[in-house]
């Protein structure tokens, strides 16, 4: 009963906490709300007209939604790179970052699920996907696996921080033997969500561009580069806009993770390019389309030729110790790495899978405004959720939110 009361008090305090803040905070949340509302309007149009409101066709049947979904699964998985050292290896440096990382994972997963729903032709019958209520094609369909692992990961990433924050809120220490098993599970689970998502594409013999054994490992490498890169940027913002102290050491350590992952990612990219272009076969056509265009159609060329140099530049900047220790350069490198991987593992991976089509037809894909606004709306939703989670977590960690604190203060003044 006491626990329940404490929990209710925490929810109430958190709600109070996230609705109060500086002008910058309110402006930020207002902007996100506006973007979300526009996104919802765009989604309404899509519901009315059907998916013909998007740029997708029978030839290219997945587009911006699935691209962003794929990328964000990676961002979600990356939180694990911070969880493991902190909870399992007791590395103090990461302790400040880990709650932020898990908050980021929750936001990314909510965005993933939103992108999947946005992509469905029949969101009204999405309940067919719920295990035990609908019919679940398990273990045959990789999408069924994905539903399980994503929701499981979401559950883990909500419960662990919730437990820790709740203990801290009551002024108690979180018990190791309760959350460490969860943390270890989440480490394995994070690898699983990304590998399963890669298998979603990798298992299709119809699409040679995806049907290669490197796809899964490459997904992991790029995820562990882009995810922590985003975490560094978020930590930088938190350092600037709140009193939450994040030591330089923490950021430096995360930067090493980003660097190693980016290097591995680049090696795999070289391996892929070699396979596609050293002895090109019929199966290399998608890669040729992506990098050089086919039959004069080259919509993706400017994107991929932006992504590759950014990727290389970021990896070089991160590798050179002198650049990496300069925080301005580090933030810049993280930013361009994030953008590069978003392009490369988003529509740079999904769209060429469909081009050329099964019988060699080349039909290009251009997203419509409806699609773009829905996408932006979902990103705004993610940012909104993350801001709320991070603000509460920081409030509790800084001791601003404490159970019975108000009451004790009140009784003292009386």
């Amino acid at each position: 009963m006491e626990t329940f009361r404490a929990f209710r008090s925490m929810v109430r305090d958190s709600l109070g906490h996230i609705t109060h803040g500086s002008k910058v905070y309110h402006l930020w949340m207002f902007l996100l709300t506006v973007v979300m509302l526009i996104g919802m309007y765009a989604y309404y149009i899509q519901l009315e007209q059907g998916l013909s409101a998007t740029g997708m066709t029978d030839r290219v049947s997945w587009g911006l939604y699935i691209s962003n979904f794929t990328f964000l699964v990676g961002v979600a998985a990356a939180a694990v790179m911070l969880v493991m050292p902190t909870y399992v290896l007791h590395d103090i440096d990461f302790k400040q970052a880990v709650l932020i990382g898990e908050g980021l994972a929750v936001a990314a997963l909510i965005m993933c699920l939103a992108f999947i729903v946005a992509d469905l032709g029949g969101p009204a019958v999405a309940w067919h996907l719920i295990p035990f209520i609908g019919v679940f094609n398990f273990p045959n369909s990789m999408l069924a696996w994905d539903v399980i692992v994503l929701n499981g990961y979401l559950f883990i990433n909500i419960t662990i921080p919730l437990y820790i924050l709740f203990r801290h809120y009551q002024g108690k220490e979180a018990k190791h033997n309760i959350y460490v098993p969860g943390a270890i599970l989440s480490v394995l689970w994070a690898v699983a969500i990304h590998l399963v998502t890669a298998f979603l594409y990798q298992g299709l013999q119809a699409r040679p561009f995806w049907n290669n054994a490197l796809l899964g490992p490459r997904f992991l490498a790029s995820a562990f580069a882009a995810g922590p890169a985003l975490i560094i940027l978020v930590l930088a913002a938190i350092r600037k806009f709140s009193e939450f102290k994040i030591p330089d050491k923490t950021i430096r350590k995360i930067a090493i993770i980003v660097t190693v992952a980016a290097q591995i990612n680049l090696i795999m990219l070289v391996s892929e390019l070699f396979k596609e272009f050293y002895a090109p076969t019929h199966h290399s056509e998608s890669a040729i389309y992506l990098y050089f265009g086919l039959e004069g159609k080259n919509a993706l060329m400017p994107w991929i030729w932006t992504a590759i140099p950014l990727n290389v530049l970021a990896t070089v900047l991160l590798t050179v110790h002198k650049f990496r220790s300069n925080f301005k350069i580090l933030y810049f490198a993280c930013f361009i790495l994030f953008v590069a991987i978003w392009i490369e593992k988003g529509f740079g991976l999904i769209v060429p899978g469909f081009i050329p089509g099964p019988y060699g037809k080349i039909a290009e894909y251009t997203p419509t405004w409806v699609e773009i606004w829905v996408t932006l709306g979902i990103w705004a939703l993610g940012a909104f959720v993350f801001t709320m989670l991070a603000k509460t977590a920081i409030g509790i960690e800084l001791g601003k939110l404490r159970y019975r604190k108000k009451e004790t203060i009140q009784s003292e003044t009386h």
């Binding site: 059907g50 209520i133 609908g134 299709l204 099964p358």
Partner: protein, 384 residues
Amino acid sequence: MEANKKWYQLDLGLGNKKTSQTTCGCGKSSGGCGSTKEDSRQATQSISAAEFDAAVEQEIMGDTAVAQTQKDGFQQVFDVKMDRRTAFRKLTASLLVGAGAVHTSCSITTSGEAKEKAQIDWEEQFKGNYKLMTQEEKQATVDRLVRSYQLRKKKNIKMTATDASKDVLFGYAFNISKCQGYMNCVSACVEENNQDRNSEMQYIRIHEMKDGQGFKFNEADDNYYHEVPAEGHFYMGTQCFHCDNPPCVNVCPVEATWREEDGLVVIDYDWCIGCRYCMAACPYDGRRFNWSKPEVPEEEVNKNQHYLGNRLRKKGVMEKCTFCVQRSRSGRDPACVEACPTGARIFGNLLDPNSTIRWVLENKQVFRLKEDLGTEPKFWYFMD
């Protein structure tokens, strides 16, 4: 299938022939007399349009008469034995949209028809997967769909839910030497299967290829508007190949698509959630998606329908060629076969040793597309 095969292989039992008792006019056990097929085809074709309409009418009257003696809506929902899953589903269902539907169906101000419509919509929204339904449930949903069309359009349709027959495995052969690219098959298919007219959805694609260059699909034109046969070209048709090991079926997260006992790969349009994973998995461009609400002018709607076949679809679901399940399961050829003026298309039962399709497989040099993918299509190409 051989025991040491690590991959899937289609088994037609070609090795162990048995003489079947099906009557062949000429008495040959193999060979191309084809008299059996011709007879049955003529028999079915001889029904005139008027006779057919009368039959449809009678069928429907019969159905309604039966329906009246059946349980009412309440009993249909609550007087059924259900397992935990079904019970839970129905409970969730009622929680989800209860308010709206209950409002319409319980309101005193709404008319009886509106109530019935709401009742049908309610049951249709929360029915189960067709594949897992009992015979009664299948019949119930078919009845609901027929009644719903009656209420909305004041027209009667005939919808069947015929299951696969034993000892039938449908197969298809395409004669490349005969096809002249007239595309009668394409238009017959669209009319037969009620495809969306606005987006001009077509299940069949005819690829026009240059003579002497082999099968170059990427250089072929599958959207031509000129007189055929064009000089120096040959034609090749593709559609769903009804693979025996279909990749599209494996990937579907909700089992909305499956391979029937007679080899047809079908979709439950009402169970499909529209994720389009099957579309990405199909190596033969065999699947189509309803990007908008499909529309067929009322007078062009083919009213002879099958639940898994040409019944009217809705926005946001997959569809595909079903070898015209509404025809093939009642002993007729698919519309494309019937419409082909050159005889390039051959359809039949692969398990019947006397069928034309078996004769083609045994006497012609046949091949299939992308055999290396292990999909085992039941669609063969051959030349004279």
